[in-house]
Amino acid sequence: MKEFVLIFRHSNKDTAKPSPEQMQERMNWLGGIAAQNKLADKGKTLSISSAKTVKPNNVVTDGPYTEIKEFISGFMIVKTETIDDAVELAKANPIFKIGGNVEVREVMVPPDVKK
């Protein structure tokens, strides 16, 4: 089994306050992954309002780091055989209904840990 981080991105700030129905849908999706025993870490949701970006020379700006208008709203880790399996899990996420996207990244394992 390999681990993959799913990174959720949005451009719409309204999504920070999901409706009860949206919450339910997210939880069903998450529960569905856990029910397949493919959840490694349920991760965290990240605040949009309480966010700063620290740059060189003590420059601190308000808000998340956004060169493009997107921001990261959360992340979690799944465990699957292949990256394609992880992508399949991500495809069912309700984020696409509200214009978000999911980045899937394999977690690097140090060479000496690999068998």
Binding site: N28, G31, A34
Partner: protein
């Protein structure tokens, strides 16, 4: 003639009373004496208590049962313990071993006050739940030491041979003796380290009784009652009366409230939907509510909280959103701890909220081949849309199931579906 009759009466009374007293007092007395001597001497404590009961059998069948049988037992046990210490000190001084005799003399006399008993039992629970022992060993030990079950009764509960249980107990007891666990003074640190294991052992003990394949109804019910009794001991002490303990108690009360309703006169399991709700025990439901409110007085949410909340919804009349609430609780539960049975239950509830067809997609994903509950679930999910498949999966489940009563239920369902299929 008359005298003989009288004696017969006495023997009969003694025979009826003793097993009851044994079950009730054996573990209490052992706990008190063992706490006094130290965990290393647990066998000695047990011998003293067994001797006490032996003496009771002999004496009571001749002289009749004393006015206060419990007090009689306590006095005899106390004297036997004192005698043992005396002999022990003499023997030790003879072979010149420097024993902690001072230590022993300084100690207070053994007493069987209510507080001493409950403190000792609490300490014993924590001693028995040793993380070095396997889960099964911990439960077997708990049953023997804390609940006064015989090896045969434990074997019956687990559906294994007595010999297996005997070996398991021997190994587990060795771990216990070699442990440095300070049973005299149960401190906060020990409690913190082991409370989770203690809760889990009680939880498993309860489940063993509630879901056991053993056909012995009395033993199964006893397991559940003992689990509740142990949890109540935790609730009595401020150090162990945590929100988690209350959640565990709430869960066990709700589940037990359906004990009479979930089995019919032939010993067959009655499914939840078909249970006679008038057989549910309202007193236990009320107690469950009480503990559930306590459980949610803090911020901690353990798996016991979630399971208790699910059990709460099951005891309430059908509400429009009932299954939605239950599904969300299952979603949270499976995030805390994956288990095949939680995954299966979640899918069943999913069907009640979104329909069987949607749930089938979820079921295919969880893919628990080899688990007979999985095929039961598939049989249920196909029952509206594809009778052939439904019958097929119920058949697979019936073949894999090890429980007679479950096989019967499944066959009934298969016959019902076959009639519909004609």
């Amino acid at each position: 003639m008359l005298k003989n009759d009288n004696n017969g009466e006495k023997v009969k009374h003694t025979n009826e009373l003793l097993p009851h007293l044994f079950r009730l007092e054996y573990s209490k007395m052992t706990a008190v004496i063992c706490r006094h001597f130290g965990l290393k001497y647990i066998e000695i404590a047990e011998d003293i208590v067994s001797d006490t009961f032996l003496k009771a059998t002999e004496t009571w069948s001749i002289d009749g049962i004393p006015n206060n049988p419990t007090a009689w037992l306590y006095t005899v046990a106390k004297n036997k313990a004192k005698d043992f210490l005396k002999h022990q000190t003499i023997a030790d001084s003879k072979i010149g071993v420097i024993v902690q005799s001072n230590n022993l003399e300084e100690k207070k006399e053994i007493d069987f006050e209510i507080k001493t008993i409950s403190d000792s039992q609490l300490a014993m629970i924590f001693a028995v739940c040793n993380p070095l022992n396997s889960k099964e060993a911990q439960i077997s030990l708990a049953l023997q030491i804390l609940c006064g079950f015989s090896v045969e009764e434990i074997a019956d509960a687990f559906l294994v041979k007595s010999e297996t249980i005997k070996k398991r107990l021997l190994r587990a007891r060795k771990t216990l003796r070699n442990d440095n666990f300070q049973i005299q003074e149960l401190n906060e640190k020990q409690i913190k380290l082991r409370l989770d294991i203690v809760s889990r052992t009680i939880y498993l003990l309860f489940n063993e009784g509630y879901y056991s394949k053993s056909s012995n109804y009395i033993i199964r019910k006893d397991l559940c009652l003992e689990a509740i009794r142990l949890a109540l001991i935790l609730a009595e002490n401020p150090l162990t009366n945590t929100t988690q303990t209350n959640a565990l108690l709430a869960l066990m009360c709700y589940q037990s409230s359906r004990f009479e309703a979930r089995e019919n006169e032939f010993g067959e399991v009655v499914l939840f939907e078909q249970q006679n709700k008038y057989l549910w025990n309202q007193e236990l439901i009320d107690k469950g509510n009480y503990f559930l409110i306590n459980a949610f007085s803090g911020s901690e949410i353990s798996k016991y909280h979630l399971e208790a909340a699910i059990a709460y919804w099951h005891t309430t009349p059908t509400d429009e959103h009932k299954w939605k609430h239950i599904l969300q609780l299952y979603n949270q539960l499976i995030l805390i701890e994956y288990s095949p049975i939680t995954a299966l239950n979640r899918t069943f509830v999913f069907a009640n909220v979104y329909g069987k067809e949607e749930a089938l997609k979820e079921a295919e994903k969880i893919n628990l081949k080899g688990n007979h509950y999985y095929y039961m679930l598939l049989g249920f999910l196909y029952s509206d849309t594809n009778l052939d498949k439904s019958i097929y999966y119920y058949n697979v489940a019936a073949k894999l199931s090890k429980s007679k009563s479950e096989k019967n239920i499944l066959r009934k369902e298969i016959n019902r579906l076959k009639k519909m299929n004609k």
